[in-house]
Amino acid sequence: MNADFLFQAFIYLAAAVVSVPIAKRLGLGSVLAYLLAGMILGPDAINLLGERSRDVMKFAEFGVVMMLFLIGLELRPRVVWSLRVPLLGMGGAQVALTSLAAAAGLRLMGWSWQASIAAGLILAMSSTALVLQSLSERKLLKTPGGQASFSVLLFQDLAVIPILALLPLLATLPATASEAHGVARLAAWQQVLAVLAAVVGIIFGGRFLMRPVFRAVARTGLREVFTALALLLVVGIALLMERVGMSPALGAFLAGVVLADNEYRHELEGDIEPFKGLLLAFFFIAVGASVDFGYVRGHPLAILLGVLGVLALKFAVLFAVGRAFRLASGASFLFAGALCQVGEFAFVLLSLAGQQGVFTAEQVRPLTVIVALSMVLTPPLLMLVDRATRRRLDAPGRTRAADAIEAGDAPVLIAGYGRMGRMVGRILRANGVKTAVLELNADQVAHARRVGLEAWYGDASRLDLLAAAGIDRARLLIIAIDDPEVAVKLADAVRLRHPALKLIVRARDHVDAYAFFKRGIEEVHRETFGSALAVGEAALRALGFGALRSHRSILAWRKHNEAALRELARHWGDEKGYFDKLRSTIRDEEGMLAEDGIPDLELDRAWDNAGLREEVKSRAKPPPPA
């Protein structure tokens, strides 16, 4: 393997591992940590990232595609539809007004009107990666301001297509390189057709084709194959979108939405999530590294004014748009603060526009620096805005907005949907308790879905998957997995990460039960215990014991046995102690029969009036003659 590659990987990973804990300690978000690490390690400072940070950025940008895929997975089509007003209205207004204002400013500075318009359009874009990551890290994505930000970002992703088409028309200089590839060579109507075909293909494939494919792959039982499939899906969509000249992120988002109520959704989330996280981290590091400090040192004032000017202009437009669309002032503030940077897409558009002869090199360079710095400034800015608005939002009398992007809000998670999980789920449903089910057998999941249950495919022993299924919001986790090793592993992981979550556990037998007791879990239920009790009761009745007598004796026995089980658990591992205890337990159980063989249920002695009768009789009799 290439030593240079390993070294680069080492540096990037080390940057992530070192910077984030420090930033968290300081109360800063991970995004800022990555950006700062990139700036420190970049070519203008320590210079450890090598010459290819631009390449890394391009590659890591794929994290954005994955992120939008994941966001899509969280949004059912209905929710997306409900976003149409903010999406088209606010997004359209924001892009139009910002580009016009920015273009006017540049024109006044003496730029050609073509270059002004092109730069205006580019500056109107915001950073999807940065904003969404920062908002979700601060748990702001579901607030009204966060929702508006999300809608506008989606619109911007859509707007990239016409902007790409427009750039060549704004060229005033000879193009240095023209790379017409893919459908760009086709006529406009053919291009539209290609885009439509791709979109329809994604919707159709997601609805009808993916389920059997997921199922077939899930049946192999090999997790890495499923991970490969998940990645293949996202990569494939990105490729297809690129081919038809559409934003890959948008395509991935669409695919995510289509798959949002697919039962494999949580497994997909769990598989993609770490890749997305790492790629985004690398992306932010690369952005930090791309800040051209040489240029900043050469033109400090111009850059300072440029950055402040862009931020102020975008902020003002965004705030006005927010208010115009009836966002509360606090939410508008957040919305404007979140989106006022220029996005990563500007890098692509700027270099493309440079090649196509829209800008001169002297125009591209400061713009690139301004874009990068505006991104670097976003996390601290967002932190300030968040602090300021939070204080206002917490004021009494304000009701929180309904969570629109709520995925799983089931209060109970059932891991394992076999014979036991199924019945438990039905009992809970009969009591109006919402449950989400995770099961590793694809056929079981399909069956459960068919009867209308909320069931997800996935290995419940993976914490990331439980997180995707909403373990943070759950009140109870029921581990009904039949494989004791998996169940114990899951219990350990959950106790570690979610110590407050209530657990109820299925154990195969007493030996498995001991393992859970040892871990301090109290609600442990042996899978055959309940039915053994039922059979015992039925047997007693069949032999002619009264119903109450049979029932009470089973209750007494159960209590005794449960207590003994816990007692025995403490001796498990110490052979002599264990067998001594076991022998005495069995003796005790037999001792539940009194000497004369007439049952003496410890619990119900008061119902026996023999002693009372004895006493009354002895009192009634005359004293025996002395």
């Binding site: 009264g546 119903a547 007598r549 119900d604 009036n609 009372l612």
Partner: protein, 203 residues
């Protein structure tokens, strides 16, 4: 409430004894009623050992009868717990009481109780200080609220010392005759409601 035969009352015995194996008196009385035509026996603890009472079934059963008997040993001056639970759940508001609760109107309720204490203990000045009808007031008033008539209780006192030979057999036979007389309308129910004890009304 229409009665199938004006001279015949359909009797339902709601029997509550949590230790049937150990019962001597109630068990004999219960057995004495076996096979009596027009008398239905319903052993509550046998039907609902887990206290999960089938309310619809119980109500349907009540509608099919004219005279209800609560038969039980006297436990702490009241009934065993399941009978109380049965009352709580079966005698629903809007069904047996309340403005629209008329399901039991016109029926009769009889308590058949065995006590450890002797008859003379259940008197003012006796060991138990109050007469039986006073202890049974909650049942009396329950019947009243359900628009039923509460009869004087059938009591077997000093049940602990009742000899399993002659006395107990005589008592069981008397109980059987009492049920027959009630069933056949041979007892003046107005008088039975006013008496202290039902036992003397049957020879």
């Amino acid at each position: 409430m229409p009665v199938a035969d004006p001279n015949r009352y359909r009797i339902l015995i709601l029997f509550a004894h949590p230790a049937y194996d150990k019962s001597r008196v109630n068990r004999r009385l219960f057995e004495a009623a076996w096979g009596l035509e027009g008398v239905r026996l319903h052993d509550l603890y046998e039907a609902y050992p887990d206290f999960h009472i089938d309310i619809k079934r119980e109500q349907a059963l009540l509608l099919e009868h004219d005279l209800l008997v609560f038969q039980h040993p006297f436990y702490w001056y009241s009934s065993p717990a399941l009978l109380k639970e049965w009352m709580d759940l079966v005698l629903e508001h809007g069904w047996s009481y309340g403005r629209n609760g008329r399901a039991l109107a016109g029926k009769y309720l009889l308590s058949a109780v065995t006590t450890g204490g002797p008859e003379q203990a259940y008197r003012v000045g006796g060991n138990n200080r109050f007469p039986m009808r006073q202890y049974l007031l909650p049942f009396d008033q329950t019947a009243h609220l359900c628009k039923m008539k509460y009869l004087a209780p059938y009591t077997v006192h000093a049940a602990l010392t009742l000899e399993s030979g002659g006395d107990l057999e005589a008592q069981a036979a008397h109980w059987r005759r009492t049920l027959e007389a009630l069933r056949d309308g041979k007892i003046d129910l107005e008088a039975a409601a006013a008496a202290d004890r039902l036992n003397p009304l049957v020879p």
